[in-house]
């Protein structure tokens, strides 16, 4: 692997969670997100020789991601965006401002997921692996869609609190 490629790889590895989050914030469909994110990855590599290393890499990659989102939607000739251009730009700025510590704290997510009870884990599997929305999950479990929506919100809150606790503990240990 040559040095430029190694550098690109290293920087992308660090930036990918944020760029993936940005794409997820503006492209609802899971499959479409994966397509767009891979196109972003390819575009980052193809244009890495034009990256100005005095600028933050994440911001540069997010700029490419914004372009790729627009290109993708133009190809589809369908508006799958949920936000207007100004809001998309605001969100790109917001993602760029997320600190590396906050991104690294997601490393505790795997451990926090193991702390979920069986029912919560089942809900997560249906939502995130099977890609069911609350109505579909409600049908599968025999509860109301509103109950499912509330449960998913509680699970996300629980995971966020778990991550924050572990981050605090890890920060205190260093």
């Amino acid at each position: 692997m040559n040095e430029q490629l190694r550098q690109a790889t290293r920087l992308w590895t660090l930036a990918q969670p944020v760029v993936s989050g940005f794409v997820a914030s503006v492209v609802r469909d899971f499959a479409a997100r994966d397509d767009v994110l891979q196109e972003v990855a390819v575009a980052v590599i193809e244009s890495f020789d034009r990256y100005d290393s005095t600028r933050p890499f994440v911001g540069w990659a997010l700029g490419i991601a914004q372009n790729q989102v627009r290109l993708y939607l133009r190809r589809l000739q369908r508006d799958r965006l949920v936000f207007d251009e100004v809001t998309v730009a605001n969100l790109a700025t917001a993602f760029e401002s997320i600190s590396s510590e906050q991104i690294q704290s997601l490393g505790f997510l795997r451990e926090c997921l193991t702390k979920l009870d069986a029912r919560s884990r089942k809900l997560c599997d249906l939502r995130y692996v099977q890609d069911l929305k609350p109505a579909g999950i409600a049908d599968a479990l025999g509860v109301s869609a509103n109950t499912v929506a509330k449960s998913l919100q509680r699970i996300r809150d629980q995971l966020r609190e778990c991550i924050e606790r572990r981050s605090t503990l890890a920060g205190g240990a260093t």
Partner: protein, 322 residues
């Protein structure tokens, strides 16, 4: 006006907002950078949960199915979403270095690049090595064992654990069933024999020479290097007829003047593109040519210390640094 932003954000993540609620959320996000940041952090977590769980599911599926036959067999086709497991942690590397190997159809080339991206995983993986055939090459001398040391155990049935960054643990069995373990944690390489001192070296290649493929930049302990070598030096194509079903295949055919195995079959999950098996035909290995398979068994986290030598011997073993 939004009364509970957290709830509205959560409903947005689950596609539950009405048009009016979506407009409210858009307006709220635009009101201040803090609002946009709050939304961004919620999406980051949501996306992270999805990536983690889909990655776990994809790895479990890759290790649970039986090895496919080498003839097309497609009794049914399962519908899948486009889960990318942990695959998007890196990018398609080949486009910067792609040399346009002659004879490689563009679609196969693109697919191989996607495999490379999909398998740039931070997850640990465990493979079983099965040697199908051993051919002796006339005129080539057998590998001499290192002075004062017994011959090394065979590769048949060996277990190879790999982790990103060139870390590996190769476990072979002697004739009497004892483990002979070599490995590297990317800081040192090491060898733990059934008896005698543990040997450790700062030369990361010191103890990986027994891993097939190293001589030809196609080491089994570095999946990425393997795939990139195939991309750069082999003709890659889909088998004819194309295999459909739970697995897909790519074939990599060696050019006439190229060293290395004559053919490599890459079997992978079509949805996640995670590699299930690599089959090397005619892999040079010392004086012999092996046909061997490397089959994915598990994708479980092996823990922080597994790739250091101390995880594989008792604390009272003598350790010699070479």
């Amino acid at each position: 006006m939004i009364h509970d932003p957290s709830e509205q954000i959560s409903r947005a993540l689950d596609d539950l907002l009405t048009d009016a609620e979506q407009r409210e959320l858009t307006e709220w996000i635009s009101q201040s950078p803090d609002h946009a940041r709050q939304y961004a952090l919620a999406v980051l977590l949501h996306d992270g949960i999805g990536s983690e769980l889909r990655g776990q599911a994809a790895l479990e599926e890759s290790t649970s199915a039986p090895r496919p036959e080498n003839v097309p067999a497609s009794p049914r086709r399962r519908r899948w979403g486009r889960w990318f497991a942990v695959s998007l942690s890196l990018i398609v590397l080949g486009l910067l270095m792609w040399k346009g190997v002659s004879g490689t159809p563009a679609s196969a080339a693109v697919e191989l690049n996607r495999l490379i991206a999909a398998n740039l995983s931070e997850s640990d993986r465990t493979f079983r090595i099965t040697v199908e055939e051993v051919e002796s090459e006339p005129g080539r001398r057998a590998r001499a064992p290192e002075p004062g040391r017994p011959p090394k155990p065979p590769m048949q049935g060996a277990v190879l654990h790999v982790r990103a960054g060139g870390q590996f643990v190769l476990i072979r069995r002697t004739e009497d069933g004892q483990a002979f373990v070599t490995g590297s944690n990317a800081l040192t390489s090491w060898a733990v024999r059934p008896d005698g001192p543990v040997r450790v070296s700062r030369d990361l290649n010191r103890f990986n020479r027994d891993v097939p493929g190293h001589e030809y930049a196609m080491p089994l302990d570095d999946l990425q290097a393997c795939l990139r070598s195939l991309r750069d030096a082999y003709e890659v194509r889909f088998p004819d007829p194309v295999i459909e079903g739970d697995f897909k295949q790519l074939l990599a055919i060696r050019g006439r003047k190229q060293p290395g195995p004559s053919q490599v079959e890459i079997t992978y999950r079509p949805a996640s593109r995670l590699i299930h098996e690599l089959r090397f035909v005619g892999m040079p290995y010392g004086p012999e040519r092996l046909t061997l398979r490397m089959t994915l068994e598990t994708g479980s986290d092996l823990g922080p210390d597994y790739f250091t030598h101390s995880a594989h011997h008792s604390p009272d073993r003598e350790v010699i640094e070479e």
